[in-house]
């Protein structure tokens, strides 16, 4: 029972951190399960995909209700994330776990570098950091959007968006993450989609991206229900709680703490990769 409760609590902590810092759960759940509970990396990725789907579905539902997400753009791009996820989910079973650990370490360092850059900027309130894929159904910032952009496809950058989405799908399937860290800047910078709309739309896309590879992991027996159950519940509760208190917590120091945690976790993953 103790391990089950620890997994619940670990998932909750990952959910809280993820929602406070604008990250999906996968970046935290995979290291938690592999380094914390000794699970094989591929199994941790399978469980992480379930957690990512659950948290993104609830948030995406709210974004759609509030008309923040661009459903047509999301569906146009998620066709390519799904194809990428199909490919990634298939090759994940051909790759050595040490290579996956190396790739995950690279992802952690990339996220740490992204957060470092974001921490050096002081965004205006209107450009507040992108909410997490697991974010807040109740986040006030997510309620407003330029209605003129709500269901229009961008006039430029669609080809780049499709290629980038394909890549994000592969990364998601290989490493058990939502891929928002690729999709949000892609839509925002390359396609000119407003940041809030890009974040909400990315969140919407995460569900189908992760589902495309989760079915592959499930059919290969890589989603252990005994692990997925408590972890997913923990992440969901943590993400919901985190999103409700996010606006009251000063994120500056939390961000720096998290960068240290990410770099440390990356070093542990590297050690695992080296063997």
């Amino acid at each position: 029972m103790l391990v089950g409760l620890l997994m619940l609590a670990g998932g909750a902590v990952a959910g809280v951190f993820g929602s406070l810092l604008g990250l999906g759960g996968g970046v935290l759940i995979v290291p938690l399960l592999t380094l914390g509970f000794g699970l094989p990396l591929r199994e941790a990725v399978g469980v992480s995909l379930v957690c990512v789907i659950m948290t993104s579905s609830a948030a995406a539902g709210v974004y759609l209700e509030r008309h923040v997400a661009n459903l047509r753009l999301g569906m146009s791009l998620e066709l390519f994330t799904a194809i990428g996820a199909l490919l990634g989910g298939s090759i994940a079973f051909l790759l050595d776990e040490r290579l996956l650990a190396l790739l995950f370490a690279g992802l952690l360092l990339y996220v740490a570098a992204t957060m470092l850059r974001a921490g050096r900027r002081t965004p205006a309130p209107a450009e507040a950091p992108a909410p997490a894929p697991t974010e807040a159904p109740a986040t006030p910032a997510a309620t407003s959007v330029d209605p003129r952009t709500d269901d229009a496809l961008p006039s430029h950058g669609m080809a780049v968006g499709m290629v980038g989405s394909f890549g994000a799908g592969i990364v998601s399937a290989l490493l058990g993450v939502g891929g928002g860290i690729i999709k949000v800047p892609l839509m925002n910078l390359a396609m000119g989609v407003p940041l809030r709309v890009a974040t909400a739309t990315s969140n919407l896309m995460i569900g189908i991206t992760a589902a495309a590879s989760a079915v592959i992991y499930a059919l290969h027996g890589q989603i252990d229900p005994y692990v997925a159950g408590p972890t997913a519940i923990g992440v969901f509760v943590g993400a919901t709680a985190g999103s409700r208190v996010a606006h009251r917590i000063p994120l500056r120091y939390l961000r720096w703490l998290f960068i240290v945690v990410l770099v440390y976790t990356a070093s542990q993953m590297l050690l695992r990769a080296i063997g």
Binding site: V3, G4, M54, S90, I208, H220, G229, I233
Partner: protein, 129 residues
């Protein structure tokens, strides 16, 4: 490609209403999944099962009988199936909406997404084990 601001107000209102419905559906299914998984986790903990115990073998054929006999792994299995199915249901709901409103391009995209998922299921089924 629809240009910003060119949609008639009635079309815009209908699309917003459709998206609200799909959003509510997503939220509802997610909470159903959370409820099922919570029951499964409680049953698992009550049975003294550790998450680090050997993973159970579950398949869709035996899951119904497992749920009927309140086996934790079967309940958790149903919860996971519901979680994974949630975004797929969203795509189906969107496809129905696009079919009703005559948006052929978006309908074809929806069908293509579902086809990709189906290819994943079939290819994984053929290569598993």
């Amino acid at each position: 490609m629809s240009a910003p601001g060119r949609l008639a107000p009635s079309v815009r209102a209908r699309r917003a209403a459709d998206e609200r419905r799909i959003g509510r559906l997503l939220i509802a299914i997610t909470y159903v999944a959370v409820a099922i998984l919570t029951v499964g986790v409680v049953a698992m903990l009550a049975a003294g099962i550790s998450p680090l115990d050997p993973p159970p073998l579950i398949d869709l054929a035996t899951i119904a009988s497992g749920v009927a006999s309140l086996r934790p792994e079967a309940i958790l299995g149903v919860g996971i199936v519901v979680v994974v199915a949630t975004p797929i249901v969203r795509v189906i709901a969107a496809a129905v909406t696009y079919a009703r409103s005559g948006e052929t391009r978006m309908l074809l995209i929806s069908i293509a997404i579902l086809a990709v998922i189906l290819v994943g299921v079939v290819s994984a089924s053929l290569t598993q084990g």
